[in-house]
């Protein structure tokens, strides 16, 4: 099992980290990305790609690049991706997780989506392991989205079911932008803290 390594290019002087927004269908992954894209200043962001179906469900992935600036002569970038949440897009999810440096797991806080969240989280761990990733060291942030729904899951229910001890947790209402930037901040910091040149 390996630890992740960003795209580090000493000749082109760039370091690119890949963040993937993972989670069950319609949990708000694309909404997270759309909000981030909306609030970031133009100089930091590239064009956003949204590959969805006529039912506004992500077909392959959504994507946009963020350039934070130069650190020690290296251009520091984050590439943000979402995965299609529907269970039958297994192959796409595995492909998009390849090379990921960190994941935001966007959980749907609706009580009746509890099982979907659990199933999708387990699939994510399987996908990461099949890509050879040491999941014990891999940055994952659990975002409880749709905190305005009722009845909703209590914070801790997902972690308890999955026996996750120290996973960073955030709360959000992505449709209103609440908690979205905080989540991005937490996951990008987790990634940077683990950065090493191997």
């Amino acid at each position: 099992m390996k630890r992740t390594m960003p795209h580090l290019d000493p000749t082109e002087k760039q370091i690119v980290f890949k963040i993937v927004y993972f989670g069950p269908g319609m949990s708000g992954k694309t909404t997270n990305l759309l909000y981030i894209h909306k609030v970031l200043t133009d100089k930091y962001k590239g064009e956003m790609l949204v590959l969805d179906t006529e039912k506004e469900r992500t077909l392959f992935f959504d994507f946009f690049p963020v350039s934070l600036g130069t650190v020690q002569g290296y251009s520091l970038k984050f590439h943000l991706y979402t995965i299609p949440g529907q269970i039958f897009y297994e192959a796409s999810r595995k492909i998009i997780l390849e090379g990921a440096d960190g994941v935001v797991f966007v959980a749907d806080s609706s009580v009746d989506r509890f099982d979907d969240n659990i199933q999708m989280f387990r699939l994510m761990i399987e996908n990461l392991r099949s890509n050879g990733i040491d999941v014990s060291y891999f940055p994952v942030v659990l975002q409880y989205n749709k905190r305005d729904c009722s009845p909703r899951l209590e914070i801790g229910e997902i972690e308890k079911e999955l026996e996750l001890d120290s996973i960073p947790v955030t709360e959000s209402i992505a449709t209103e932008g609440k908690g979205v930037m905080r989540t991005l901040q937490v996951v990008s910091k987790e990634i940077i803290k683990r950065f090493q040149i191997s």
Partner: protein, 170 residues
């Protein structure tokens, strides 16, 4: 004196530029399997190379799954034919891909030939680069890098008071 890494970047760019010239292509890009653009040559102004790299990497990975389904390990070449422009994508080693965008479909043979002929040189340069990556990135001080990067994150991914979604509404 040039650094080895810098030399290899120029070598890659020369190979791509020559390919563009000889095959009369619009542009040629070298990308990583993760969807990051490594080098580009030709008319690169009008294309969004970042998005193109991300999409092609995804497309190629999807095609690998298709190959597995039909009993192949992978397809080494992908060709997309359009009305005015066409794309030739070829695997470069195990970790990279080359994209050639061209306009005259009659030149497909030439594009394919040129792409094949520089493939092994690209693989060799990229392998050498990978081996010397650790030395070449010796100019990064990891602790300082982390400190600056964390500051940039705080400054750019701004969290305001309105960002709080933890208040209980029911």
């Amino acid at each position: 004196m040039q650094l080895p890494g810098r030399e290899s970047a120029e070598d890659i760019n020369d190979l791509l530029s020559n390919l563009v010239k000889r095959s009369e292509a619009v542009t040629a890009l070298l990308i990583s399997r993760e969807g990051v653009c490594i080098s580009k040559a030709g008319n690169v102004e009008t294309l969004n190379s970042t998005a193109l790299a991300a999409l092609v990497a995804g497309m190629f990975a999807a095609t690998r799954e298709v190959a597995n389904i039909v009993g192949e390990e992978q397809f080494s070449i992908l060709l997309q034919q359009g009305e005015k422009r066409h794309i030739h994508i070829s695997l470069i080693g195990q970790r990279n891909m080359m994209i050639v965008v061209f306009e005259d479909y009659k030149r497909i043979g030439r594009v394919r030939h040129e792409a094949r002929s520089i493939g092994s040189d690209l693989v060799r340069i990229l392998e050498n680069r990978e081996k010397s990556k650790k030395e070449d990135s010796g100019d990064i001080s990891v602790p300082e890098f982390k400190e600056y990067a964390l500051n940039l994150i705080d400054r750019i991914f701004v969290v305001g008071e309105e960002d709080d979604a933890s208040s209980r509404s029911n």
